[in-house]
Symmetry: C2
Subunit: 528 residues, 2 copies
């Protein structure tokens, strides 16, 4: 870091802890704060306003802040800060922190607390914030005082940036923010990826030259590199290995001119079938494939019993480097196979999950960021868009539905020059529907396509797996069509332009018009 620059921003007045923390976060490279503050965070609101060093994005619910911080970091490659209100604010933020943690996204959560001397008296908002933060975070610290909070903040950023990314939560008791006498802290170095093992590299090389069907199971940052994907395609072509990614991934680069990658199916029977002939797996940046859920009488691990499992790069190692070295040793060069066919015009007829996918594919612009919380009704969009112009694909990584609208917001804040197209299931959308308001407020170029099938369709499938003959009361718990939700009204009520479409051509037209126009739009695609 540039000492001069740090010194140059040092104010001459007596610093509060809050101002020292905000200035230090900025010095550490944090540029955005997604906030839903309360009384115990007013000193930070004041410091954010006073310094103007961070862009502040307000959410009307804490899950909006953390979901947006996830989307921002996946695209920006560095953490945003969130500002949350004591234990309940952290709880509300928790589901999307969970998703971010599973994505290994860097995130710095700043959670206000009462002044330390107040905690003994069980005020209404008192709770054990550290205990709540621990299962949600990789690193938790409670700031001791205004004198140390800036160095705590620098440590939080460094911990969040530890490769490939972690959840760092800093709890700030009142006095640590409002007391004076604080000093700025210098940025700290982050821990990079753990070095690859030579024995692991040799074992992988040997395995790829041995008989028996091998799969390269690849996840994490490797999928965000088009170069790595091209090397993987080269490895597959030369060795006969297959290449597979997990069902859900933080970020994949794909589309025309890029080597496509196949994902393991979500449904357990399809996943087991897909891997049934595999004799050996080489893991790159990810653990071995596991069922999304457990089911009676079905295995937890998806590889066939007896299959050999080699870890070339664990999640805390650099999968991109692993692929590069592997390719070098096997004399493999990048390969970009023939592109999938370019999408044609949207299919005629009514909207179904399949025809909807043709409409999205026909309209998807170059360099789009696709947000995938399409769940059941959106499954056809992935294959349909393989031949689209190059784009980036961000998915729900932790299974906690309700990340789509904030993830889109965060991606748009990170990349204001790129259109964001969100494929959004209706049931999932309702968990964080408040994010539409933040999209409008920020003028985010997000086009949300709501797949309105008016039921928790994925759960209907799951229920039939456990209940031979579910009755109407059980099914009614999975039916969100009574009353029908009007997503056009929900969007307009929050300042987002919206329309409803019932045929693929109209959907494609609406998407194309929306991505060209600044600001957010929502398109309710009514499915049968």
């Amino acid at each position: 870091m540039d000492e001069t620059a740090t010194t140059a921003t040092t104010p001459t007045h007596d610093l509060t802890g809050a101002e020292a923390l905000v200035r230090t976060l900025a010095d550490c490279g944090v540029e955005v704060c997604f906030a839903n503050p309360g009384t115990s965070e007013m000193q930070f609101v004041d410091a954010l306003g006073r310094t103007g060093l961070l862009r502040c994005v307000l959410g009307l619910f804490e899950g909006v802040a953390t979901g947006a911080a996830d989307g921002y970091a996946r695209m920006a490659g560095k953490p945003a800060a969130t500002l949350l209100h004591l234990g309940p604010g952290l709880a509300n933020a928790g589901a999307n922190i969970h998703n971010a943690r599973k994505a290994r996204t860097p995130m710095v959560n700043l959670v206000g607390d009462h002044a330390s001397r107040h905690l003994a008296y069980d005020a209404p908002l008192t709770s054990d914030i550290a205990a709540l933060a621990k299962p949600l975070s990789d690193w938790v610290r409670t700031a001791g005082s205004a004198a140390t909070i800036a160095s705590d903040g620098a440590a939080a950023v460094a911990e969040a940036m530890a490769w490939p990314g972690r959840i760092a939560t800093l709890i700030a008791p009142g006095e640590a923010g409002w007391d004076q006498g604080a000093t700025l802290a210098d940025p700290l170095a982050s821990r990079g990826p753990r070095a690859l093992g030579e024995a692991d590299l040799q074992a992988a090389v040997t395995a790829l030259q041995a008989p028996g069907q091998t799969v390269l199971f690849v996840g994490g940052p490797a999928l965000a590199s088009a170069d790595t994907l091209a090397l993987l395609a080269g490895l597959a072509a030369k060795t006969g290995a297959e290449v597979l990614a997990p069902t859900s991934n933080p970020r994949i680069e794909r589309g025309r001119g890029r080597a496509a990658i196949e994902r393991l199916p979500y449904a357990i029977d399809l996943a087991l079938e897909r891997l049934s002939h595999i004799e050996r797996a080489i893991l790159i940046g990810v653990d071995q494939p596991v069922g999304f859920f457990a089911y009676p009488g079905k295995p937890s691990l998806m590889l066939p019993e007896g299959a050999e499992v080699l870890t070339l790069a664990a999640p805390d190692q650099d999968g991109r480097e692993a692929v590069t070295v592997l390719a070098e040793r096997l004399g493999v060069t990048p390969l970009i196979p023939a592109d999938a066919p370019e999408p044609e015009a949207p299919a005629p007829g009514e909207l179904t999950p399949e025809t909807l996918a043709t409409a999205v594919a026909a309209a998807l612009p170059e360099h789009a960021i696709v947000i995938d919380e399409g769940i059941t009704a959106g499954r056809a969009v992935w294959p349909a868009t393989a031949g689209c112009p190059p784009h980036t694909w961000l998915a729900l990584t932790g299974g906690a539905i309700g990340i789509g609208p904030p993830l889109a917001l965060g991606a748009a804040v990170a990349c204001p020059e790129r259109p964001v197209v969100a494929i959004q299931a209706d049931g999932s959308a309702m968990y964080t529907i408040q994010a539409l308001w933040s999209q409008a407020r920020e003028g985010a170029n997000v086009t949300t396509v709501v797949l309105a099938n008016r039921r928790y369709d994925i759960l209907r499938h799951e229920l039939f797996k456990v209940g031979a003959n579910p009755g109407p009361q059980a099914l009614s718990l999975l039916d969100i069509g009574n009353p029908a939700l009007d997503f056009v009204a929900l969007a307009r009520a929050q300042g987002v332009e919206a329309s409803r479409v019932t045929c693929p051509a109209a959907l494609a037209h609406a998407i194309a018009a929306s991505v060209r126009k600044p600001g957010p739009q929502l398109i309710e695609a009514v499915l049968p």
Copy 2:
């Protein structure tokens, strides 16, 4: 419990753990389940549907389920069950669990988890649910197997009902629900209130006869008993003691024919001023008054330094009994002071917080249940409604905003014959706006009055306390008017009839019309 009744419901087929649990919960008196289930809870959805023993109310977000369970239990005097989806579902539910815990509401949370054998593999939805549940709950247990889950459920209900009420969280690994070979469990006795201390009673009697200004600081179930409130008024009249309740309380019975009770002001300076002359406090069902938040240079405890503090009944003792015994020993009989004046017609002119209060008061029907999440703009409603027909007042107890819409839903489910009138701040409404959909689905007779001032007004007050001169960026983080939220559209989009009013007469008319008509309505009261 009636053994015969339990036996009569015993099915003859081989029981799954899920069915045994649901049947046992019903045997223990649980009648309602507020649910937002996922795949890991499908065996419970199946069992709920199969048995038909519990009324199932679906929420589109977990905070709706727990907020509604709180409102239900405050009115029904017994717990509802909630059904939540793993760690992220519990996190989403957490803010309103926090509120319920501060209200000492009985609640039974059932949280699904993966099958135990699946937990080793870090599937996307895997998290440490027990660690997350502990800071939110008074009692946490992970069901060991299908053979024991029903007795775990009976224990959960007994723990929830331990006086005056607790949060019991039961985590159900997949196999504990879907395995067969389960048996029903008998209901267990709950722990009643801890006995009053004779020395404490004598000390209170002595104190009330001694010189010096005494305050009876009363909270918890005592406030939900009109008889207890009348005895408190008698005690005050006879001894010169003052009677005060905390700022926010789970349930107060009030209105014409009932002894009114004063609440401690929220604002710290007003609270300190109100108590400045107090020399002695007798605590009944509550801890001593503490600041809602801590502020630089202001005390945490609200009583003057040196004031004597006597605990007659701690929160785990029976405050109603304490008041009864105290009254007997001092020869005090119930007193119902003259009623406050009956509300007049709504004030003329524009809507302001004060004129809005006159409109609510003019329209409030007999036996209404008032939900108070009015925050800043709703403060005038409490005094204005003192002379209204008898009604019940439920407030935000834990300071975690976003309980109003679900609390109203739960109260309406518990008391379908009583109109619910919710005084709802706009900023707070957005945290759980999805509850409107459940209100519509259940046909709940809820009239929600949204106080649309389009800013986090309470935070503006707080910000000015820490920032001498907050700039536009800080203020913008407290401004929710850009873009303006359209609550009429948000309601209609979820199947709730809605209207917008801009004058007190129209507001009173709309409230009166809504309470007479079945089903929910929302009235957006536009404030300057």
